[in-house]
Amino acid sequence: MRSILYKDLVVERTILLIYSAGVILFALQVVPIFDPLALAFCLALFFTFTTATHEEMNNGHILINSLPVDRKEVVTAKYAFHLAVGAGFLGLDVLLEAVTGAWSLNIGRHFAMAVLGIVWFVSVFFPLYFWLGHRFVQIAMIILFVMIVAVVPIVYNLGAKHDFWGILDAVRTLPNALLLGLGAAVTAVVLIVSVFLSVRLYERKQF
């Protein structure tokens, strides 16, 4: 698995650097933005889409499956790599916000929720990608882009106008540890099921 992770790192190095530069620019407010952590989260999602497209364009599946690896390792390495990169983007943002003193009191909670969000995204993305293939990536990327650019701001503004219908207040009343513990437990189960499903789907794939 180490070799697969090394391969991903070398192959996606340029994209990784470009996205990291984006995280840094937003975190340092060189490009002023409302919530840099949210943007780092979005970049982590787009990174997964971009690398999937890159793999497809380069026949990456044929190469990796001709090397001495089994398919289970390929899938688990994919999860590990994308979770690490996602957590890395968020961590980089938090670190830079700490350095510049721009972070809010709730940054720890936001960071934890963003990490859980990435785990959820990866857990949904990979089984669908291994099942539906490259076409899914193209369509889903457009949908995600439209959601982030058009739908999310509208829903957010609507929510803010109505004080998020009391949902946020209800969540805030819960103790941090309980909320995150529960969230982490559910997310861990979803991740395990997702990995299992992805392995089964990938083992059936033909190239």
Binding site: S3, Y6, V11, P68, V69, Q206, F207
Partner: protein, 266 residues
């Protein structure tokens, strides 16, 4: 004599094409050719052997192991060369080598450097900036640099100029001097096979047709009844140290003639 690969009634069905109960075996220490016109099923056969596609029927054993159950172990001993470039275009040859080398415990950096020099390949050039011939040579250099016992090549000479083709074929002849190594290469260019192949398996419309052997037979190991053997023109032979093999000289049709006779393709 040891079989490196055995395909037993392997079938694969696609819409509009089927590979129909292909059976053949590949003996250790020889260059085996797989010939057939475009779309005959050569690439599918190779992909089946590499476990990139799964057979609908039949079994494939490589190094005596089931290729699905022991894929990782088998691929460690295989050097592969595909007709289409499987490498990342944005990487330099050097970085691509680093990636591939990290998967093999017995990667031989010295051998790789020798092949780079032999092929005059620039290590710092991106894959996308290499010509088709250079990409193929690079692919061959990678395949030969981890002491693979079995080299599988899908159309390694297709689309290349005669000089590069000759270089590649000469290299294959050198590789096979080590009797532990076996080469399988597919092509639709009959003259390539005439130059180097010891045996030729002919695939036509998804069926394994006839089998040619060149210049040699082995005492006590007659050809199977299923195979029809055509002796092809004499070119000298390699004798093993064991002395069990003996060469047989016999005037016979060329591969081109056999190909024409089998397929009806003139």
């Amino acid at each position: 004599m040891e079989d490196v690969a055995v395909l037993d009634r392997v079938s694969k069905f696609y819409k509009g094409f089927k590979l129909d109960r292909i059976s053949f075996s590949l003996k250790k220490g020889f260059i085996h050719g797989l010939i057939g016109r475009n779309g005959a099923g050569k690439t599918t056969t190779i992909k089946l052997m590499m476990d990139l596609v799964r057979p609908d029927e039949g079994s494939i054993r490589i190094f005596g192991l089931d290729n699905r159950r022991h894929g990782k172990e088998i691929r460690r001993r295989i050097g592969f060369v595909y007709a289409e470039n499987p490498f990342y275009d944005d990487l330099t040859a050097e970085n691509m080598k680093r990636v591939v080398a990290s998967f093999y415990k017995d990667w031989d950096e010295g051998a790789f450097r020798r092949y780079l020099k032999l092929f005059d390949l620039p290590a710092n050039k991106k894959i996308k900036h290499l010509s088709k011939g250079m990409k193929m040579k690079f692919s061959i250099a990678l395949a030969l640099s981890h002491h693979a016992d079995f080299i599988i090549m899908d159309e390694p000479t297709s689309g290349l100029d005669p000089v590069v083709r000759r270089e590649i074929l000469e290299l294959l002849s050198e590789v096979i001097q080590d009797e532990n190594k076996t080469v399988l290469f597919s092509t639709h260019i009959t003259s390539d096979l005439e130059q180097v192949a010891d045996t030729v398996t002919f695939i036509h419309d998804g069926k394994s047709g006839f089998r040619f052997r060149r210049m040699k037979c082995w005492k006590g190991t007659p050809w199977s009844r299923a195979e029809r053997t055509f002796w092809i023109r004499t070119r000298g032979s390699r004798l093993s140290g064991s002395g069990k093999r003996r060469s047989v000289l016999k005037a016979c049709p060329t591969i081109r003639n056999g190909f024409t006779r089998c397929s009806g393709i003139g």
